[in-house]
């Protein structure tokens, strides 16, 4: 045994460094020098407003306008929106954009309610913008995450979906709170507000006008009709408590000045893509029949281009009938000019660079809301009067110099108010004009058509979805895996995740 030689080598290396020095400086090292952990209300508001309106404008143009026969993006390809065949790949953009901006508006409220940065007006504006975006979300998709949404920072990674009814009722609470907060008129940084330049009174009026838009939207549901109608009455009758927009200047519009960062988001659409869709016959034929000043070149045009920048075809405005069958190959005639085109040796006036396309909610829409409420007998006041004011504001928003008598204009166009008509005829008349007032306003034409069935759109033979106006967008496909349990619960509660499933307020 002793002949066994043990050969043992042991090497121990030990760098004994005190523990504290190993982590010294880590806190400082992990403080990002390029970004900040704190934000002020005035830093958050403008970028969030611009991003939200940007997303709304792009989908107004290539989604709402296609469904609602403003334009026809002519193609025989599968999945065209104008044929009611849009697919789930349309769903992600708005869902993602809107929830991203909600993070900013909720954060704005949080920061403005903290002691050091306390400001009632920023809180109120944040609530109005949240209400606006949540209503767009639920009107587009139906049940969506609301109470648990935008709480990733609080470790809610799979938010539950909420019923549309509960969402609406809570939005109303937000708008009440906003009206209260804004009544103090606390000043804000003027440069942080590209919509009203710090005019708090106007924000308050917009909030209450939005309140009416949303009350009216769910007024057809028997379970809430009574409380909704009495709220509408209260708002309309107590103007001291609920001031409303009083003229076009008070419209909520993010006006594109052309100076960065307020250049029109339509500039991100390539010129040739901008010109690609044809004007739909439904949209243009009415304007031609009425001799609408907004397409009048000689009197109200600029350098040979009408106010809405629509190109004539052989001296006339001619559209394409939407919903045609693949293979029918109609010819594109009128379309929206792009600004690179030359008319009368000047750059064409184009909606691509127009200041008014950043529409959030305009005064004309409010008048048509009131006209409908009056026609239904919910509020006193003359429906005719509201209707005429709406039609007038709809024109003068775009053409302030238009000074003809609105009643003369309407009767010449044979769209004047008829007090002896049936309620249904009155509603139809209001909504035909409202359709033009909602031009450029996110997806409102589509929402209102789903609610009322007006304006009555011609149905082409190539329509999918059984020829029925699609009732929603599907949820983005990735939500099926990122939020699987709640997604399944939402589908079970609302119905199949397809474009024909009606949302709560649309269900009979």
């Amino acid at each position: 045994m002793k002949q066994l030689i043990y050969k043992l080598t042991a090497v121990i290396l030990l760098f004994s460094i005190t523990l504290s020095s190993c982590t010294k400086g880590f806190e400082e090292m992990n403080t990002d020098p390029n970004n900040t952990p704190n934000a002020l209300p005035q830093q958050l508001l403008a970028p969030a407003l611009v991003s939200t309106v940007h997303a709304n404008m792009l989908r107004n143009r290539n989604f709402n306008n296609e469904l609602m026969q403003v334009t026809v993006d002519m193609s025989d390809a599968d999945g065209r929106v104008f044929r009611y065949e849009f697919r789930s790949n349309w769903s992600d953009y708005l869902y993602n954009s809107w929830y991203s901006e909600l993070t900013n508006f909720k954060d704005l409220y949080r920061i403005a309610s903290e002691e050091v940065t306390f400001n009632r007006s920023y809180m109120g504006i944040a609530l109005i913008c949240q209400s606006w975006i949540y209503s767009l979300l639920t009107d587009t998709y139906g049940d969506v995450p609301y109470f648990e949404s935008n709480k990733g920072r609080e470790k809610v990674y799979e938010p539950a979906f909420d019923a549309q009814k509960d969402i609406y009722l809570d939005i109303f609470k937000k708008l009440e709170e906003a009206n209260e907060l804004l009544s103090a008129g606390t000043a804000i940084d003027v440069t942080s507000d590209p919509v009203y330049n710090g005019n708090i009174g106007r924000w308050r009026k917009f909030g209450n006008s939005l309140y009416l838009r949303l009350l009216l939207r769910i007024s057809g549901k028997a379970e809430v009709a009574d409380s909704v109608i009495s709220k509408i009455q209260e708002i309309v009758t107590t103007s001291s408590k609920y001031p409303l927009m009083a003229n076009n200047d008070e419209s909520a519009i993010l006006r594109w000045t052309g100076v960065s960062p307020y250049t029109s988001p339509f500039l991100t659409v390539r010129e040739q893509d901008w010109r690609a869709p044809a004007i739909a016959s439904f949209f243009i034929d009415n304007l031609v029949n009425w001799n609408d000043p907004r397409i009048d070149i000689p009197t109200y045009g600029t350098n040979g281009v009408n106010r809405w920048g629509i190109a004539p075809y052989q001296g006339a405005f001619v559209g394409v009938a939407s919903g045609y069958e693949p293979g029918a190959n109609p010819q594109k005639k009128s379309y929206f000019y792009s600004d690179a085109q030359t008319v009368n040796s000047a750059p064409a006036k184009s909606l691509r660079t127009d200041p008014l396309t950043g529409m959030i909610m305009n005064y004309a829409e409010l008048q048509f809301i009131l006209a409908e409420c009056a026609a239904r007998g919910w509020i006193s006041g003359s429906a005719e009067n509201y209707y005429n004011k709406g039609a007038q504001a709809s024109i003068t928003l775009w053409l302030p110099q238009w000074n003809l008598s609105i009643t003369d204009y309407l009767s010449a166009a044979d769209i004047d108010w008829d007090e002896s008509a049936t309620l249904e005829e009155k509603i139809e008349k209001i909504h035909l004009q409202k359709y033009y007032a909602l031009f450029c306003t996110d997806l409102q034409q589509w929402f209102e058509h789903r609610r009322t069935g007006y304006p009555v759109l011609p149905k082409g033979p190539g329509l999918g979805n059984g020829g029925v106006m699609p009732a929603r967008m599907t949820y983005p496909v990735y939500v099926q895996s990122t939020n699987p349990t709640n997604y399944k619960a939402a589908v079970a509660a609302q119905g199949p995740d397809v474009i024909s499933t009606q949302v709560w307020w649309q269900k009979p």
């Binding site: 030689i5 043990y6 050969k7 043992l8 080598t9 090497v11 121990i12 290396l13 004994s16 190993c22 982590t23 880590f26 806190e27 992990n30 403080t31 990002d32 970004n35 900040t36 952990p37 704190n38 830093q43 403008a46 970028p47 969030a48 390809a77 599968d78 999945g79 697919r87 789930s88 790949n89 869902y95 993602n96 929830y99 991203s100 909600l102 993070t103 900013n104 909720k106 954060d107 969506v144 995450p145 949404s149 935008n150 709480k151 990733g152 920072r153 990674y157 799979e158 938010p159 960065s260 960062p261 693949p326 496909v477 990735y478 939500v479 895996s481 939020n483 699987p484 199949p496 397809v498």
Partner: protein, 443 residues
């Protein structure tokens, strides 16, 4: 801090122990440093069998080894632990937005514990060598970015992703089949790797790691699944797996929900290299192969959708009957006899934007990776030229690919941040075939 103990017994048995403590600065936050430290030990035993016991005479050397080791790691990307606003763009003076990537102030270091057993064998006087190892390990808290439902307010978040079990085998066989007196030598080696992983634990029922460009394509981690599981929308199939077509239009039906489409990580990879030497000539040939993975091809989707692939020619003028079944009103599947006349829609149903499955293909390949033939000048010729050495050769890389992948090159990597992502080809340039002549002159 690092410690190591190395011992040996009679130079046949070796035993190593290491212990290490690291602190990764990226895991600290501006407010704390607790999670930044991690400790990891390892132990290795190896025994030279051929010195301990009598071996058959063909075996020159045999060694077995076992090891157990822990490895920890932070991350290389900084600032993932603290919530910071991002600039809303230089056009807004001082404008800020909330970030889209949600920071994780509780981020912990990744820990891997693995056990490995292996053997080294040398046989026939060094003419044949075998190196084999098998391993099994568990990785905890891998640091990954998870895709979130945007209704959380964020696009992605940094997470510690549960527990993943890995097991695998690596075999290297090297030999010299020919070594003749007249100067011909042939050395060859084969390398084989195979790895399987299984997700044992996750924070949530399903964690989306990556989104593809079309058809809801996505890589989803689920307990019991593997890290590279690819999901997406695909064909509606009958119980026996046939594609179901629309009974009226003859186009393929696409599922509303995402389904499992395969795994993007190869089951095994093989390398096969050969070196021949004859007098002053040297020839080097290298082949690579991989097997068992799938990937989604954006290029295939795009070209097929635009009708630029020859596979979209059939039926362009007279319509086509898709190979599959239709579902009858009474719930029976019968062979499809409907002629699809809208050929654009027909091919879109197969390869369009809604169908991820239609553009998912196997990435199996064999590549003739490298060939090289050199001739070196002899001492006499060198002397005449006054040179130390001179070699002339021709070489080629990526010479041929044998693969069913439809779009040029099944080997692609998508760079996303610091990670190379497999599974989604997004129109990368394929690797190029290189050929050249090489002259090396030494003075």
């Amino acid at each position: 801090m690092f410690g190591v103990i190395t011992t040996s017994y009679k130079e046949v048995l070796y035993f190593d122990l290491t212990a290490r403590q690291d602190w990764a600065s990226v895991l600290a936050t501006p407010n704390r440093t607790e999670n930044s430290g991690f400790f990891y030990p390892s132990a290795n035993v190896s025994l030279i069998l051929s010195d301990v016991m009598k071996m058959p005479k063909q075996i020159d050397y045999a060694k077995v080894r076992f090891s157990a080791s822990g490895v920890g790691s932070g991350q290389s990307k900084p600032y993932l632990t603290a919530y910071n606003y991002t600039s809303a763009g230089s056009l807004f003076s001082g404008g800020l937005s909330n970030p889209s990537l949600l920071a994780n102030p509780d981020l912990r270091p990744l820990r891997t514990i693995s056990f490995e057993a292996g053997t080294d064998l040398k046989m026939f006087k060094g003419r044949l060598g075998l190196n084999l190892s098998v391993y099994a390990g568990t990785t905890k808290d891998q640091i990954l970015e998870r895709i979130l439902d945007r209704s959380t307010g964020y696009t992605r978040m940094v997470i510690n992703a549960g527990k993943v079990q890995n097991k695998g085998i690596e075999i290297t066989l090297s030999g010299t089949p020919v070594k003749s007196k007249d100067g011909l030598t042939w050395n060859t080696h084969v390398v084989f790797f195979s790895n399987r992983n299984r997700i044992a634990e996750l924070a949530d029922s399903s964690v989306v790691l990556r989104l593809g460009p079309v058809g809801g394509g996505q890589i989803v981690a689920q307990v019991g699944g593997s890290m590279g599981d690819l999901y997406g929308r695909g064909y509606v199939r009958s119980p026996d797996g046939q594609v179901v077509y629309d009974g009226n239009t003859g186009v393929a039906l696409i599922t509303e929900e995402v389904k499992y489409l395969g795994n993007v990580l190869p089951k095994f990879k093989v390398g096969f290299g050969n070196d021949f030497k004859y007098k002053r000539f040297r020839l080097h040939l290298l082949f690579d192969a991989q097997y068992g993975a799938v990937a989604h091809s954006l290029m295939h989707y795009k070209l097929a959708e635009q009708g630029k692939l020859t596979k979209t020619l059939p039926g362009r003028y007279n319509g086509i009957i898709g190979n599959g079944v239709v579902l009858t009103g009474d719930g029976k599947y019968i062979p499809n006899t409907v002629i699809a006349t809208d050929i654009d829609q027909y091919y879109r149903s197969h390869f369009g934007i809604d169908n991820a499955e239609g553009s998912v293909f196997r990435t199996d390949f064999i590549k003739f990776r490298e060939a090289r033939l050199d001739y070196s000048l002899g001492p006499n010729a060198l002397k005449k030229l006054g040179l130390q050495r001179a070699t002339i050769g021709v070489y080629g890389r990526d010479l041929f690919i044998w693969s069913d992948w439809p779009m040029f090159d099944p080997e692609f990597g998508t760079l996303s941040g610091n990670d190379i992502v497999q599974g989604f080809e997004i129109g990368q340039f394929p690797s190029t075939r290189t050929m050249g002549v090489n002259i090396v002159v030494g003075f």
